[in-house]
Amino acid sequence: MSGEAVEKPMLILKDVHKFYGNNEVLKGISLEVKEGELVTFVGPSGCGKTTLLRLIGGFTEISAGDIILDGKRINDLPPNLRDTRICFQNYALFPHMTVAENVGYGLRINGWSKENIRARVNDLLEMVELQAFGDRMIDRLSGGQQQRVAFARAISLEPKVLLLDEPLSNLDANLRLIMREEIRKLQKRLHITTVFVTHDQFEAMAISDRLVVMRDGLIEQVGSPIEIYERPANRFIAAFVGYVNFIDGRITSIDKATRSTLVETEHGRFEIALEQDDIDQGDDVLMVVRPESITLSLDFGIKRPNVVCGTLKSYMYAGSLAKCTVVIGTMKMIVDQYNPSDAHHFKQAEKVEVEIPRRVHLLKKKR
């Protein structure tokens, strides 16, 4: 999927640090963003993602390190001389100008002729499907329309890097889904290198070529949505990108040929198809079991591999999915049962079986 991107770094961050007084909010960020790629900074609030974005845009001064845009170091360039454009969370549309004047602002500043501005603004408004709204004042637009204007204004000068700071957070849930698809479509069509900031991990996974998961001023992991979700680097990331059940265990044997691995846990022994190279026999590990990968069935008392018995504590039916809580010994396990056609059986059930899949990601515990 990300193979379409040309393998040329458009934006390079080298060991970027940012201090506010004695408070270090960015503690050494290094990253390459390829041309045409959409990279998302995601992390809990206060992790430094917005600061990093503002730093790339030139609104915040860098304390140490380098920012390289298309081969040129831009550390000391003010925003008006950088070929980056930002789209703020609150859109920052100029309330004293019309839609067309907003979109054409950058063109006017950069000395475009009146006819060229008109033509370009028309194209841009067409692109975001607001042709009829050029003469409107900003406060007469809906949230989604304002978002489109902000986007059109940001891409008007065809920046080398587009910076989007939580652009969807002011929209309601449905509109957010629609807009994120539209942004992604336009971004791909125009092939604009884009840095997207969000605290919404699902939005991040849906829209990005690559995710940069940040915490506490540091990058925790960089990877495609699939990599981050299926092979998280640590416990924090595993829990950050979706719900997860952790099971403590120890590797008792690894079959050299088939990579079939046995993990001994408090709740029994599980057989895993090991995909990682960094795990050896005798290692203490954390099994990362996603709720939707578990199979839930009624307990008929027949012993099978990778199956443990438990008590169904709650069963919340929500149409396409049922959210269940199963207590196994001292552990509470969350299970998502998709397409729960036999829900009525579980509604009354108490004893259930839980089957852990063979494909489970393992996190090695530090000794």
Partner: protein
């Protein structure tokens, strides 16, 4: 059965008719009482001035107005006043803008010190600047003697300079407020699109500030043309409306002409009030929500930066020097002439007597003002009766009215029966109460807006009568507003000059008037020491207010989520 009886009793009320009547109508009774007070102590004096201006010895006449518009002297007085207002407004806005821009967009290091110095004049009586200009540039002034200059401080220039310095804080506060409320992302977006600092200012910042700028301009204009102290001390032979009114009354006892001058002074205030309401109708640029981020410092280009730095340095430097010379002058008989360090100015009996009187008057004014202010605020916010808007406008208007007008008005209204108050402490206190009523009312209104009506409804719902609710719920919640109203009224009253100067009696001098007299008669040491004492009192008040605010969380208080 018992239950039914109980609910019957609830419907029937408490049994006492008077109590029931009070419960049902208290807010209206309150409103009526307050209306009477406003009418008697605010409107009646103003009307008295209007009537005096059109009533001669033989009944109705426009003779006095004819005199005003035909005599060259009055015409010049009007012209000077309007010119002063215009120059002052423009200069104050420019300086205020530069200061506000630096404290909201400039380097972090400069923000705090600039802000503090810009606001410092608030703790001093505005005529401090007239005094310091005399100390520096007067006939015996430090600078005048040092360079053996032969210039004339007294006149138009002196008034303009002192007035400008006095109104910098007001301009600064209003413009800082406007700049702070601008979403910083707007300017950043323009910056991001390639605009330079100057272009951002021209295309984004100033257009978006326009309503705020206009509002500040109108207010400063009204305040400066009405301001009495600096003009009275430094005008010399140059006529200005406010001090001329004073000379007309005290020097020539010509109440008719004095009233005409006052009416002429009110006229621009009223015109501007309506212009302001008309112009700003719905003209507020609202920006889309999101977290307001404090503006980060920008690399301001030299073309903008150098003028900014020059203006802010000069303004803050001038303010600083003015305070410093008054402090220095308070320790000498005449600074620069006699060089013996003395404390006599601080020990001066008449000065201390005047300070004591001022404290008494301001205290009485503050108590009454805070009570009426809180009650008025309650009636304005919660009341639903005919004339509510009128009461609100009336109670807030005292502040914008020229002090001289209310001074003459009180002289005219209360020097003869039915209510003869002249010569006592009450006329001074009441004058301050109704001039500065806006202070207490504003404090009360802002407090009430934080309290949801639901709290009172909840109390009523639980069975409390209106009286009980008011007594048990509203008053305790309003108490911080009362304290704030008290201290603000006290601080404002103790330095005010323009109205009380008409009302003091020879045996009962006030500090502000003492400073004024001493400055006029060249007793610079006494004037300076008295000023410093006033500053210390105001600083003490602010410290107390600060302490209480922190203790009771008066500022944030019971904040309710806004639905």
């Amino acid at each position: 059965m018992a239950r039914a009886e109980y609910s019957l009793k609830l419907q029937a009320g408490s049994g006492s008719r008077i109590k029931d009547f009070l419960n049902a109508n208290l807010i209206n009774i309150l409103a009526a009482l307050l209306f009477l007070l406003l009418a008697f102590f605010l409107l009646y004096p103003i009307i008295a001035v209007l009537i005096k201006s059109i009533r001669g010895p033989s009944g109705f006449t426009l003779e006095y107005y004819r005199a005003f518009f035909t005599k060259n002297y009055y015409y010049r007085s009007l012209f000077n006043t309007l010119l002063l207002g215009t120059i002052n407004t423009v200069v104050c806005l420019v300086i205020g803008f530069c200061l506000a821009y630096m404290t909201t967009r400039g380097p972090y290091l400069l923000r705090k010190p600039l802000k503090v110095i810009s606001l410092v004049p608030l703790i001093a009586p505005p005529y401090l600047f007239a005094l310091s200009l005399i100390i520096l540039f007067g006939r015996n002034g430090l600078v005048t003697r040092m360079f053996d200059l032969h210039w004339q401080l007294y006149g138009f220039a002196g008034v303009v300079i002192s007035q400008t310095l006095a109104f910098i804080p007001l301009a600064y506060m209003m413009l800082e407020n406007t700049l702070m409320s601008l979403n910083p992302n707007l300017e950043e977006s323009a910056y991001d699109m390639g605009a330079s600092e100057a272009t951002i200012l021209r295309t984004i910042t100033i257009p978006l500030m326009a309503p705020g700028l206009l509002k500040a301009a109108l207010l400063i204009f009204v305040m400066t043309i009405a301001e009495f102290g600096n003009a009275a001390i430094l005008a010399g032979r140059t006529p200005f409306l406010a001090p001329d009114t004073y000379t007309m009354i005290t020097g020539e006892s010509d109440f008719n002409m004095g009233s005409v001058l006052s009416v002429v002074l009110i006229a621009p205030c009223i015109i501007i009030f309506f212009v302001h309401n008309y112009l700003l109708e719905g003209k507020k640029f609202t920006t889309i929500g999101g977290k307001p981020v404090a503006s980060e410092p920008r690399k301001i280009t030299p073309i903008i930066k150098i003028p900014l730095i020059i203006v802010t340095t000069m303004a803050t430097g001038a303010i600083f020097i003015c305070f410093a010379v008054v402090l220095a002058a308070s320790f000498y008989k005449i600074l620069g002439v006699t060089d013996k360090f003395i404390l006599a100015n601080y020990l001066d009996f008449t000065s201390n007597q005047a300070i004591a009187n001022s404290i008494r008057v301001s205290f009485v004014a503050a108590v009454i003002g805070a009570v009426i202010g809180v009650l008025l605020a309650y009636v304005i916010v919660r009341g639903k009766f005919f004339g509510r808007t009128f009461i609100e406008m009336a109670s807030l208007s005292g502040f914008a009215l020229p002090g001289t007008v209310l001074g003459i008005g009180y002289l005219l209204a209360f020097s003869a029966p039915p209510l003869k108050l002249t010569g006592g402490i009450m006329i001074l206190a009441l004058n301050c109460v109704f001039r500065f009523l806006a202070v207490g009312v504003e404090a009360g209104i802002s407090k009430l807006h934080q309290i949801h009506i639901e709290i009172e409804e909840a109390s009523a719902d639980l069975g409390a009568s209106f009286l009980t609710t008011f007594y048990k719920i509203v008053l305790p919640i309003m108490f911080p507003a009362f304290i704030a109203g008290f201290i603000y009224t006290f601080m404002t009253a103790i330095v005010s000059l323009s109205a009380v100067v008409f009302l003091v009696s020879p045996g009962f001098q006030l500090a502000a008037v003492k400073i004024f007299d001493a400055a006029v008669y060249g007793e610079i040491g006494i004037a300076s020491a008295t000023t410093i004492k006033l500053i210390l009192i105001v600083m003490l008040c602010m410290a107390v207010l600060n302490y209480i605010t922190k203790k009771t969380r008066l500022g944030s208080g019971l904040k309710q989520p806004v639905a």
